[in-house]
Symmetry: C2
Subunit: 205 residues, 2 copies
């Protein structure tokens, strides 16, 4: 089987895009990076919408096919690797945390970071930020409880569930979230940063 | 292999819970239904939070283990059935649409229906409803575009991607969404309702 040709359409500060850069690094998969400046509406051009009608990054290209949604990309790339458990219930638990991340975590923690540190528009979103900080801390509470009895999210070992949740958790302070009351999350962040082929969100691939 | 014992913690009007009742019906899997009245805070009791620290339904119990997140449940139950494609890229495309549903569709379309038809509190949420209707129609536009060239969401055949998106799309009118400008979605809804072992959201299991 020929190795697929991967291309990643990515906005560098995005945690969703970073998740895929991180898994590509950890799996040592070569790929071409295409920078998409979402602040300049580059994900809403006709050419981009023809590849992803939902107009979002990251977008993973595999040969001539396109796969939107960061967590679908994590799953696709990590199939058959040790970043996805082999047990079927544990695989479903990985998906559980990927859905938790996109529903309960990212819309709160990532969105506040975007307003505060990327748009530099904290005052424009003051009321929304109050509400989203409450919901973001609730998501962090769920993570802290879970990590209080186990090292990683699923099956006692590092998986794409950890990569997905790490993406925006480790930069949550850029949205004003204080992680100091979360010792288990803090320990888990350090454990991820010690994994082989780790790279930071700012690193060029 | 013994068949697992399934228990579903479910709030009947919820489309997320309905997705799992529908797939359980279509796969002819027996299960026990436990009614959880979220309007009476029954998903926030200490007993429920011990099963799902995120305090949400549906919650699928498989023997003595708990699996939160409706779309993780769809994946777990449908594994090995004809409701999930066997091709690895198509499997990732199923996940793509499951994440689209939870990120771009449900928070808009389901939430407006909840405010309007379940809480009967449309006037309390008037500003939020305006914003969420715009985003909900954008999600419907993405679906319509996709369905304009194919009968179902992935691989030319019915899958859990269709079940996930059908859950709240077919009751979108209860949140004031008008599906009449969406002929492809309307045709797709009819095709789902013609599937074997279909059951309506109001049907008791």
């Amino acid at each position: 089987m020929t190795t697929p040709k991967y291309k990643l359409y990515s906005f560098h500060p995005s945690g969703n895009c970073y998740k895929l850069r991180l898994v590509l690094s950890q799996l040592a998969l070569p790929y071409e990076l295409v920078v998409v400046d979402i602040l300049d509406q580059e994900s809403r051009t006709a050419a981009f919408l023809a590849m992803n009608p939902n107009g979002r990054v990251p977008l993973l290209q595999v040969n001539d096919r396109y796969l939107p949604e960061s967590n679908a990309g994590l799953w696709y790339l990590a199939q058959g690797s040790n970043l996805i458990p082999s047990d079927s219930f544990e695989r479903a638990q990985v998906l559980e945390w990927l859905f938790f991340e996109q529903y309960s975590h990212e819309p709160n923690i990532a969105t506040v970071r975007y307003w505060v540190s990327i748009l530099n528009a904290e005052s424009d979103y003051a009321d929304d930020i109050i509400e989203k900080r409450i919901k973001g801390y609730a998501a962090l509470d769920v993570m802290e409880t879970h990590l209080s009895s186990q090292p990683y999210f699923v099956g006692q070992r590092y998986s794409i569930a950890d990569i997905a949740l790490y993406g925006y958790t480790h930069v949550a302070h850029e949205g004003g979230f204080d992680l100091s009351p979360y010792p288990h999350i803090t320990r888990w962040i350090r454990a991820i940063e010690a994994q082989p082929n780790y790279l930071t969100i700012k690193a060029e691939p």
